[in-house]
């Protein structure tokens, strides 16, 4: 699969590649869901997903055979950066905003608060573990196969099981340490 762009500056913004179109159709929703897992905010998840496709359009990677993997690697890197930036920028107030954003489902108020605190704790743990560990956990949890994860994170498919097992240990230790 490869991407092409029109070379004329006047028409450069038009996407004409069927490969690009197919990638967008295939990955939009799943990419947004993965980003949502990190961010807990649809607006931000969709914005970063769009950013990733814009980046793909303007600067496609050299290896045009593994564009799907590239999408998830770049998008999850963006999400981790956004999480760090958000944490530093907003502190406690930001966390409160996220709690409010995600508390959209009606139900027992106590249960809603409990769920929100759990999400906050899980995200806090994901922020402190190694970025690759956070990526591998979320990508596997989203249903990706080992081959897909390997392509996304540029690792050997044979090492995915080992890295997943390590990431889970790392996550559990961080989960028990973080304070919310």
């Amino acid at each position: 699969m490869s991407l092409s762009r029109r070379s004329s500056p006047a028409t450069r913004t038009a996407v004409e590649s069927s490969a690009f179109e197919a990638l967008f159709q295939q990955h939009w929703e799943k990419l947004c869901r993965v980003l949502y897992s990190f961010l807990g905010d649809w607006d931000e998840a969709e914005d970063l997903a769009l950013d990733t496709f814009v980046q793909l359009y303007h600067r496609p990677p050299a290896d045009s055979e593994r564009l799907g993997g590239w999408l998830y690697r770049v998008a999850t890197n963006k999400a981790l950066n956004a999480l760090r930036a958000r944490k530093r920028r907003q502190g406690y107030e930001g966390q409160a905003t996220v709690l409010a954003l995600e508390s959209e489902a009606p139900g027992d108020p106590e249960a809603v608060v409990e769920q929100a605190q759990e999400r906050q704790r899980v995200r806090a743990a994901l922020e402190v573990i190694k970025p690759r560990s956070a990526q591998i956990l979320i990508l596997r949890h989203s249903g990706m196969t080992y081959a897909e994860i390997a392509a996304a994170l540029q690792i050997s498919p044979a090492s995915v099981g080992t890295l997943l097992a390590r990431a889970e240990m790392e996550f559990e230790r961080a989960y028990h340490k973080v304070q919310v």
Partner: protein, 387 residues
């Protein structure tokens, strides 16, 4: 021979090849220790899975594909990939000199707008870079504003004189680099490979301020809100950058002919190049009654801050000794870190779709800049290995 945690995990996920899956199953049927390990791993995986499940959206989902496609089209139609002005300015400069001369380019932009109280040709006030700080900039907006100006390039070509000391020169040893630059060259021991060493001769940038031209450019950029004092006209400010040393590890470009044209297509391969640059602090000569805080405020306004934001930020910066690096507000992240016994600035960003870092700090009058592909912890590990 017992099963590894990785094998057990892949077995539970049914991600082994058929033969390997059967072998693990057969082993588990016979090995009690592995049965216990596998059960424990399965419990652990389920527990982590339950925690991660809390992050899944409950009732909502992203906007539909057609709606998202419309947003994407609008974004692609609206924006041409922005090319930061400093990329253009440094496009003809080979990679070893990039960091040092990016300092020049960025400072050049900052110094185009100093509200100097005007005593031309008087260089009594000396600034020296002693520390680094970061200001987030909406680069897309700034690039858009700069594109609106037809006279910006004229401003640079007429008002700014670059005096470069020549091309980077490869040297064969640390001692040779030290002898040519006067820098006590330090290298990270984190790399097993021997770096390529280059000496970048020093250079200077002189600004002859033409107030009328600057005001015309600001007007074209839609920034009539920025007021330049009349006394600025005719002032001369000179920035001097001493010779420095660049150590390159990995696949680095050093040939001018291979340099990327920022107006051309983006390069497709991802360079695996880590560079470590060290040079004595650049200095600025300017008229003695330069109002540095006011100069800083104007610089920050040009970069996109409101007057209030600029005043607040500028009042917390010692402009006589601080190098303010503009970093893109979106797509990059920065933090203050402890490095080499001093405070430094670590910028993480994307380069060709991959994570990359730039770590800058100043110690004992030397500016250090480490840049390469990878994560923040790699930068800090490399910096910690400096000898």
């Amino acid at each position: 021979m017992h099963l590894s945690p990785g094998e057990i995990r892949a077995y539970h996920d049914s991600q082994l090849e058929a033969g390997a899956q059967r072998r693990v199953e057969a082993h588990l049927a016979e090995c009690q220790k592995c049965q216990i390990d596998a059960q424990s791993a399965l419990d652990h995986t389920r527990q982590v899975g339950e925690r991660l499940a809390s992050l899944e959206p409950s009732i909502s989902k992203p906007i539909s594909i057609p709606a998202a496609r419309a947003y994407l089209d609008a974004r692609l139609q609206a924006e041409k990939e922005p090319i930061p002005m400093w990329s253009k300015l440094t496009s003809r400069i080979s990679r070893p000199a990039w960091v040092g001369l990016a300092l020049v380019a960025v400072l050049a932009i900052s110094l185009v707008f100093p509200p100097v109280q005007a005593i031309a040709n008087s260089f009594l006030k000396l600034f020296r870079v002693e520390q680094v700080t970061v200001v987030p900039v909406d680069t897309e907006r700034l690039a858009g504003e700069m594109r609106q100006s037809t006279r910006l390039e004229g401003l640079f070509s007429e008002s700014v004189q670059f005096e470069e000391g020549g091309e980077p020169l490869e040297v064969s040893s640390v001692e040779e680099a030290a002898a040519q630059t006067g820098v006590a060259v330090r290298l990270p021991t984190a790399f097993v490979e021997t770096p390529k060493l280059f000496v970048q001769p020093g250079g200077s940038v002189t600004f002859n301020i033409d107030l009328e031209l600057m005001q015309a450019v600001l007007q074209e950029m839609g920034r009539e809100d920025i007021q330049l004092p009349a006394s600025l006209d005719g002032a001369v400010v000179k920035l001097e950058v001493p010779a420095g040393v660049a150590a390159l590890y990995g696949e680095c470009q050093v040939d001018d002919n291979q340099m990327q044209d920022p107006d051309g297509p983006h390069r497709m391969d991802i360079p695996d190049c880590t560079s470590f640059v060290q040079l004595p602090s650049p200095s600025v000569d300017a008229p003695p009654d330069l109002n540095v805080t006011q100069m800083g405020e104007i610089y920050l306004q040009v970069l996109g801050m409101t007057p209030e934001e600029a005043a607040s930020f500028a009042s917390n910066v010692d402009w006589t000794s601080t190098f303010v690096i503009p970093v893109p507000r979106y797509g990059s992240d920065y933090q203050e870190v402890r490095v080499d016994g001093v405070n430094g600035t670590l910028i993480q960003h994307f380069q060709y779709g991959e994570q990359a870092y730039l770590l800058v700090w100043v110690k004992d009058g030397i500016v250090y800049a480490l840049s390469g592909p990878g994560q923040a912890d790699q930068a800090l590990q490399i910096a910690a290995s400096l000898k």
